[in-house]
Structure formats: C-alpha cells, structure tokens
Amino acid sequence: MAFKILERKPLNWAERTYLPQIITGLKITLWNLFQKKVTLEYPDVRPVIPEGYRGIPTLVKDPKGREKCVSCQLCEFVCPPKAIRIQPGEIPEDADYAHVEKAPKQFDIDMLRCIYCGFCQEVCPEEAIFLQNDFSLSGYSREEMVFPKAKLYEMGGTFPDQHNKWGKKQQAAEEAKAHG
C-alpha cells in the first residue's frame, strides 16, 4: 500500500486550551513583521517583463527606417475583436522602396478593443507588427485610445531585420538589370 495511516493523538490538556498554539501563531506573525517586504511599489518600480510578453501591439520600422507594413491586411482579418483598421495605399514611383509597391495609408488600432492575443504579430508575413512590453495604457476619451499610424510607429520604433527581404529583392533586380 502506498499510503500511511497517521495515528491522531488526542489533544492533551494544554493543547485543548489552544493557548500554546496561539503563542506559536503569534511568534510566526511577529517573525513575519520584520521580514523583507515583497511589495513592488508599482508606478515607481516597474516589474521585470518576461520574454514573450504580450503588451500593446505596435508597428515597427526596419533598421534603415523603412516602414515594414505592406498593408496586406492579414492582421486586420485575423484580429478577433476587429481592433485593426487598415486603408491600403501605394508607394509613389520615385520613392526609395518603390518596388515594395504598397504601404498603409491609414493604420488604426483601437486599444480599447485589442485583447492582446498576439495573432497580428503571428500572422504578419513582413514581421511589421510586434506586441511590446508596455501594459498600462490610459486616456481621457475613446477617440484618444484609437492609435493612428504615426503613434504606432512612434511607440514601436525600429526592430532589427534578420531577413532584409526587400533589400535582397532590390539587389537581385539591380544585378539582373546589370547582367542585362
């Protein structure tokens, strides 16, 4: 048998008054009184955010400052609470990255609708949208909490680009042109 039956001894006289137990309890609480405090004094001291945390979603630029989003609208379609609204636009012919062809004209995320599920980050083929560490958002109106593109880029900043997909394409095109 894998279990053991403990014999329960009847309480003796001192134990039945509960006073020794109360004194033991008092000792424990007094010991706790002088221990180090575990409180994190929140607005002054911020918690350490673990890797892979899903905070607010933001758009990011690549190290050269190019906006990575190509307005494919996959995130808009996958977003469960429909927090993302994208108006696709075209990149003008004379721009540096004209061969990317498309960029969002408008990109709004309604932070009041967002449920921080991270689907947009997962679905993005361009790695253009990332969930950041920031978790506390506040505003005075609903309109204010719909973050436009400019604000999303401002909060996102630039991320390192491992693939340099569009740079390689450009290079390949140039090489092809050179070889005629």
Partner: protein, 361 residues
Amino acid sequence: MNYLPVLIALIKAVLMVAVVVVIAAYAVLAERKIAGWIQGRYGPNRTAFPVIGYIPILGKMLTRLGVFQPVADGLKFIFKEDPIPGHVNLVYYFLAPCVAFIPAMTTMAVLPFGEMDGQPLVLANLDIGMLFLLAVSSLGVYGIILAGWSANSKYPFLGGIRGSAQMISYELAMGLSILPAFLWANAPGSETGMSLFNVVQSQDQLWMVIWQPLSALIFLVALFAETNRLPFDMPEAETELVAGYNTEYGSMKFGLFFVAEYTHIVIGSGVLTVLFLGGWNFFPGLPSPWPGGWVGGVLSTLWFLLKVFTVVFFFMWIRWTLPRFRYDQVMRLGWTVLLPLALANLVLNAIFIALFDNWFV
C-alpha cells in the same frame, strides 16, 4: 456664580477627548501598518502633507511611515457624499452612530492615566469608577443593535443580532474576571470600593497580571469580544456579512462607528493596563522613579501611555494572527468556558482571601 471651575473642567475634558481621538486615529494607522508588515507589505506610505512632506529627510520619513494618512482619512470621511438608502428607518438610522459614539467618548472620563504627588490624573475620580465604565461601555451595544436593525437589510441585521448576543455573553465573564482584582486591591473595611486609582496604587509592588494571571486572561479575552476585535468580530465579519452592522452607512456616519470602535480599543487597553498591568507603576518590585510635581505627572502619564500602546499593538497583532471564531464557537466559549472559569476564579479567590485574613492577619 463662579464659572472658572466649570471652564477648567470643560477645557480638560475637551483636551482629553482630543487626545484620545487622535490616539484612536493613529491606532487605525497602526492597524494598517502592522497588517501590512505582517503580510509582507508596507502599509500606507504615500500620503504627503504639502509643507512638512517637503522637508528633506524628515518629511520623506514621515510620509513613508504614513503619519499624514489619518488626516487624509478624516477629511475624506467628512467631505464624502453621505448617501441614505431608501429602505432604512430614518430615526434609528441617524440615532445609531450617535449611540455608538457617545458611550465610547464617555468612558474615558473615569480612566486615570497618571499620578501627580499622590493624586490621580483623571477627569472624574469616582469611587465606583469601574462600575461606571462597565455600565457606560455596555451601552455601546445599542449602537450596534440599532444600526443593524434600522438598516432594514439582511447583513446588518445578522451583524446586529450577533453583536448583541456576543456582547451580552462576554459582559458577564468580563465583570466577574475583574472582581478578584478589586478583592485583592481593597483592604477589609476600606472605602475606596471600585476606584480605579486605588487599584493602580495597590499594584506598586506587584502587578495584578502576575498575581492573577487567570483573571487577566479572562478579562483580555472578554475585552477582545467586547471591542468586537478579531477573533471575535462577529458583528462586522467582513468576509461573511459584507461589513456587518455598518454595511448601509457611509461617510461620517460610518466614521463615527469607526472612531467609536478604535476608541473602545484604546480605552479598553487603558482599563487592562490600569487593572492588571500596574497602570503607571514602574516595574514589579521596583519603586516608581517619578519625581514630584508636574514632571512626575508627565513621566507617569508617558509610562502609562507606553503600556497602553503595547496593549493596542497586541490587539492588532492578535487580529492578524488568529482567524475568526464561528458564531456557535463564540457562544460556547463565552458561556461554557469563560463564565464558569471566571466564577470559579472569583469564588476561589474570595475563599483564599478569607482564609488568609483569618490565619495571618
């Protein structure tokens, strides 16, 4: 007619009330701080006061200690909106906080808190001081009953019923547990009766708690029940009854209950100190080193206050150590354990004193 004595008495009374209310307010702070510390938190440490809070090191320290918190709490109570639920019995609803508050403020009149040249420092040195104290403090239960009943909703009602049952049960044990102290304090044929000052003076060599530990223990337990403190906070029982008898109260009316509760604790600690911890007497076996005149008065008062604060700390310490009793356990402890124990204690002491007087005196 000479108004001066009346005026002086009035000033003294106002001073006493002010000091006790301030101590009660800081007892609330102490409660929150101790609760925090025992649970690994800091307790209130943000409330800052404009000018004092900006003093370089001291201001920061006081803010961290939460010294300004009671001021903020008090102001909040006064300026908050005071909603009156539509379903209450208005007369008793308004009467209850006053009925709870007035006895709490009255009992301090007979509590001696120091001595000056052999005279007690007390508002009214009555020969029946203890009797007065018991009589008036037991009126406080009406506040709880009225509050619970007038609120006309279930949780306050249950709190009121529990409170009244508990306070009546433990009053008996409390009254019986202090009698041995008075039996020992008074020589046969003396006329001091139930004077609290006399009890303290009789403890200048030996504190009553060493000589009468059982009486002190019963009194302490009954005091916890009478002041509705955990583990006997049946009327409030916030985990079971929302907030018990004061669920329907808000703003300053709740504040009155709150202040009354903590005043009861402070005064109760004072009574415990007077009866069993030797009042302002120094240590057992050591003569009191207080000099004559007002210096001695101040020193003895400070020593008395130190003891009172220790007892108040003990109240809070117990609160964050023991869980609440069940209602039937409270009743059983009161009626089948404490009451017979207190009775036996009284009878045995009386017999012992009688034999002692016959054989040795």
